[in-house]
């Protein structure tokens, strides 16, 4: 099993619903976030393009954050999830700086926190909170090993990219372009 997410930049309107849904679902303290929205404008008036992306931990197959963690708090979980065990984390922040996607933050309670793909929800067969709330339905989640999962199907159909592929991290978040 390899969990992955595909996000359609053609449908995303950048409303940040995914951000606030994640915050309320996962009790992320106000002022912090596990996911965020990036808007990139290209061109000059009136020949313009915008790409809007909801970004989060890429749950990389080759995660620098797991490699650099001195205590083993950052680890791989079944399904390829990259997680942090709070009680093992000493808050050194090595993972925060090692992540090319800036996906981690230091929680005020002294540990490092990040997106879990809402593991507590997917274990119950639900979708991650961001996927479930998105008004544009621009996010697809599922198992890459299952050819019939939403994410496998949409990746078969559409052109996609990953972020900073040159970092060699093998991300599991795909952007449909």
């Amino acid at each position: 099993m390899r969990y992955a997410m595909a996000i359609d930049t053609r449908k995303c309107v950048g409303c940040s619903d995914c951000v606030v849904a994640c915050q309320t679902e996962n009790n992320v303290p106000i002022g912090y976030c596990r996911d965020w929205v990036v808007e990139v404008t290209d061109g000059t008036y009136p020949q313009l393009e915008i790409e809007i992306r909801s970004e989060r931990c890429n749950h990389c197959e080759n995660s620098p954050c797991v490699r650099c963690c001195p205590t083993g708090a950052s680890h791989y979980e079944a399904g390829g999830l990259v997680l942090v065990t709070p009680h093992k984390c000493i808050g050194c922040g090595a993972c925060v700086v090692s992540c090319p996607y800036d996906a981690r933050y230091s929680h005020p309670d002294g540990y490092v926190d990040k997106c879990t793909f809402c593991m507590h929800r997917i274990q119950k067969g639900q979708q991650p909170a961001c996927v479930e709330v998105c008004p544009t339905k621009c996010m697809y989640f599922g198992d890459l090993d299952d050819p019939n999962s939403d994410v496998s199907r949409v990746l078969k159909k559409r052109k996609f990219k990953t972020l900073i592929p040159e970092a060699g991290t093998k991300p599991h978040v795909y952007y449909l372009i």
Binding site: R10, C15, V20, L48, I52, T136
Partner: protein
């Protein structure tokens, strides 16, 4: 301001008594939960609600955490308004509940020995006695018609009920004359039906969606944003007309960066192209429309070349986009928009939109406009209302004859005594609408308020309007109260229940209780005959074959459509509610009132050198000015910026993030500086800010002084002579690097 009868009072710091009372409520809520045995339960307790953060009123579920605190709100899967997906504001609605800056206890304006006006905390009884006594006195001296209600949101029903029982029908919502009114009148005069809310647009099945200044995706009209996304999935072409490269523009096949205030020219040219090329739906027009020949003759001068000179949109682009619409017809929607009070000829612009839709045969067609099902739920029985002797219309001297609802701005005007008025309005009840930010021309609004004998403000937050009140009634948030059922129109009608998920925090109360208490003191208790609100809801629900018990479980009930008439059947006879019984391309109603029966382009003022069109709009994470202090939503966006084209920024030496003051054509300077956002996404003749920021009340600890308020700068109002809409896009601004202290109080 020293001569004013009514000084603006900042809501003072919370007293110890207020805190204690608040603490007590939280305590009792907690202990109540413990005894109910919900702690530690595996299944989280959920209660149904519908959202009050905007007017879309999506239904959802409120979930609590193990401690019994409200944790999150999620959409109800059965709700056609949201399909289980709330927008960021609905998801962040919990912030309204947690906001520690809320109004906490009733306040009464008093004058101390030195003549200073302050608010003092009073009991609910004192507040109600004071209100009832003043209302009674106004009724005796001037008549009950001299009392008006301004409302946005659920509470308006109860205050409206009280007012109608008292003998006044002056019930106005700024959502009409400051927002969607021109659209309603335009569609009523064309198709015999308004659009209402949510608009009956079949966006999910459309093949071509045309957005004219409508920024879907930035305005989170939830169902429409969802359907726009569906339409993108299915390959629909979007055409966006906007001087700004909006989010929607970035999803569009065509973006027409139009010169501001010239939309009617583009629309007339499109109409001409579609008629002259024979691209209109001939059968549909023959069968259903009135005035085609007149329209055809009328639009002959409006060539794409003519429109190019006005709109700056190239003729071939006008032709190409007209063709795109025609190819998609009848599955095409020229979107009617929502906030359409722009330039004072708005009814005529929306008439052009309606006519274009009619020519393409999209009204009553799949992928166009569907026929909404509008079921209602019976009112709880009450005695008949007395007929009011006068209404706001008498104060209008026959102006705005086609307004089909009360004008908030009209009621405001009718409050300022003038020789033409035999009686001006003496009391306002203001429910959930921050008129200072909502109505244009703040000076006039404050002038009107200064003529009042009583102003009661009902709100959850210390908005600017509360500072002018005689009595402030703190309402609990939608997460803490029962409210009337939400009955929504749509492909089918649906009913949604709101019930409290928690006890009201602080000393706050629901509006239905307040209105009933005041009504009892006015001898009008019979109009609120229910003992408890639950009893009233249960009675109403039983009339439609449901019950409160059922609704607590399901939250939303979809009522099946009575007939299979979502769209016109081919060739079907159809009677439209217009004078001719047809779709009026030529409007007999407008002609009869002496207005242009077909839309005409009139040039609008252009900004002088160094000034720019002040365009304003929405951000997806905020609603009006009401969410600017919501902790969850402030976390997503805490201030607005002024969008400036790089060429303009270069001329002025402006850089990204630099704070500037905006000054308008009348020398009015916005109260607070706003940061510059240099972006290619805006035309060189315009600037853009998101509405709802620049709050001036310090008690809004997160919103105070953050960004600029367009409401400060909208001092020129372009009135729509047809229905009294207040056009607000005729203002121009320039940049100032500092601000003299004496300007603007």
């Amino acid at each position: 301001m020293s001569g004013s009868r009514r000084d603006f009072i900042k809501i003072s710091a919370l007293s110890a008594a207020g805190l204690l009372l608040g603490g007590h409520y939280v305590q009792s809520a907690m202990s109540g939960k413990k005894s109910a045995g919900n702690l530690g339960s595996a299944v989280p307790l959920r209660t149904p609600t519908y959202c009050e953060v905007c007017f879309w009123q999506c239904a959802g579920w409120v979930y609590k955490n193990e401690k019994g605190d409200i944790q999150k709100v999620v959409g109800n899967d059965d709700d056609p308004n949201c399909n289980g997906r709330l927008c960021p504001r609905g998801t962040g609605g919990v912030g309204m509940y947690h906001d520690e800056d809320r109004l906490k206890t009733p306040l009464l304006r008093i004058k101390d020995q030195d003549g200073n006006q302050t608010f003092t905390e009073v009991s609910w009884e004192e507040a109600f006695d004071f209100i009832a006594e003043r209302l009674q006195k106004i009724k005796e001296e001037h008549g009950p018609e001299c009392i008006a209600l301004f409302t946005h949101g659920s509470g308006g029903n109860y205050w409206g009920n009280m007012l109608k029982a008292f003998g006044s029908s002056n019930i106005a919502a700024p959502s009409y004359s400051q927002c969607r009114g021109p659209r309603e009148v335009a569609f009523i005069t064309t198709f015999g039906d308004g659009l209402n809310s949510p608009e009956p647009l079949d966006i999910r099945d459309t093949r071509c969606l045309v957005l004219i200044g409508s920024h879907l995706g930035e305005n989170m009209h939830n169902g429409q944003v969802q359907e726009m996304s569906d339409a993108i999935d299915k390959g629909a072409a979007i055409i966006t007309v906007d001087p700004r490269y909006s989010t929607a523009a970035s999803k569009s096949k065509f973006w027409l960066p139009i010169k501001p205030a010239t939309d009617i020219a583009l629309l007339l040219s499109w109409i001409r192209e579609i008629i002259n090329n024979g691209w209109y739906d001939k059968e549909y027009i023959n069968q259903y429309a009135y005035g085609f020949e007149e329209l055809k003759n009328h639009v002959q001068p409006f060539t794409p070349e003519w429109a190019y000179g006005i709109t700056t949109i190239r003729p071939e682009q006008i032709r190409e986009t007209a063709r795109e619409m025609a190819n998609a017809a009848p599955s095409v929607i020229i979107h009617p928009g929502r906030h359409v009070t722009w330039y004072g000829d708005d009814t005529q612009r929306l008439r052009a939109v309606a006519i274009l839709n009619a020519l393409l045969g999209s009204w009553g067609r799949r992928g166009g406009f569907f026929i909404p099902e509008k079921k209602s739920v019976p009112e709880y029985p009450h005695p008949p209302y007395p007929a009011p002797r006068r209404t706001w219309r008498e104060a209008m001297n026959g102006k705005y004859p086609l307004a089909d609802l009360a004008l908030a701005s009209g009621v405001c005007d009718a409050t300022i005594p003038s020789p033409d008025l035999d009686c001006s309005i003496k009391a306002w009840i203001v429910n959930g609408t921050n008129l200072i930010m909502t109505l244009p021309d703040q000076k006039k609004t404050i002038d009107a308020i200064n003529n009042l004998e009583l102003m009661v403000v009902v709100d959850t937050m210390p908005m600017e309007i509360t500072g002018y009140a005689d009595v402030v009634l703190p309402e609990c948030t939608y997460l803490e109260r029962w409210d009337d059922l939400r009955v929504a129109q749509g492909r089918n009608s649906s009913v949604a229940l709101r019930m409290p998920a928690a006890e009201p925090k602080y000393n706050t109360k629901p509006a239905y209780w307040m209105a009933k208490e005041v009504a009892i003191r006015l001898g009008l208790g019979a109009y609120f005959a229910w003992e408890t609100f639950e009893e009233k809801l249960d009675w109403q629900l039983k009339q439609i074959g449901s019950s409160l018990e059922e609704m607590k479980r399901i939250g939303v009930k979809n009522l099946p459509r009575e007939f299979d008439d979502l769209f016109f059947a081919p060739g079907d006879d159809h009677e439209f509610y217009t004078n001719t019984g047809k779709i009026e391309l030529y409007s007999t109603a407008l002609a009869a009132e002496g207005f242009d029966p077909m839309p005409v382009y009139t040039p609008h003022m252009e900004p002088p050198a160094g000034y720019y069109h002040l365009n304003y709009g929405r951000a997806p994470m905020h609603t009006f000015s009401r969410t600017a202090n919501n902790p969850n939503l402030v976390d997503l966006m805490d201030e607005n910026t002024v969008w400036v084209n790089p060429k303009v920024a270069n001329e002025w030496g402006l850089t990204n993030g630099q704070p500037v003051y905006l000054e308008n054509q009348d020398g009015v300077i916005a109260k607070f500086p706003v940061k510059v956002r240099v972006t290619e996404r805006i035309r060189f003749d315009s600037v853009y800010i998101v509405h709802g920021f620049g709050h001036a009340d310090k008690k809004l600890s997160r919103a105070y002084g953050k960004g600029a308020s367009d409401a400060d700068l909208i001092t020129r109002v372009l009135m729509d002579p047809i229905m009294g809409g207040t056009g607000m896009r005729g203002n121009f601004v320039t940049f100032r690097f500092n601000k003299e202290s004496e300007v603007q109080s």
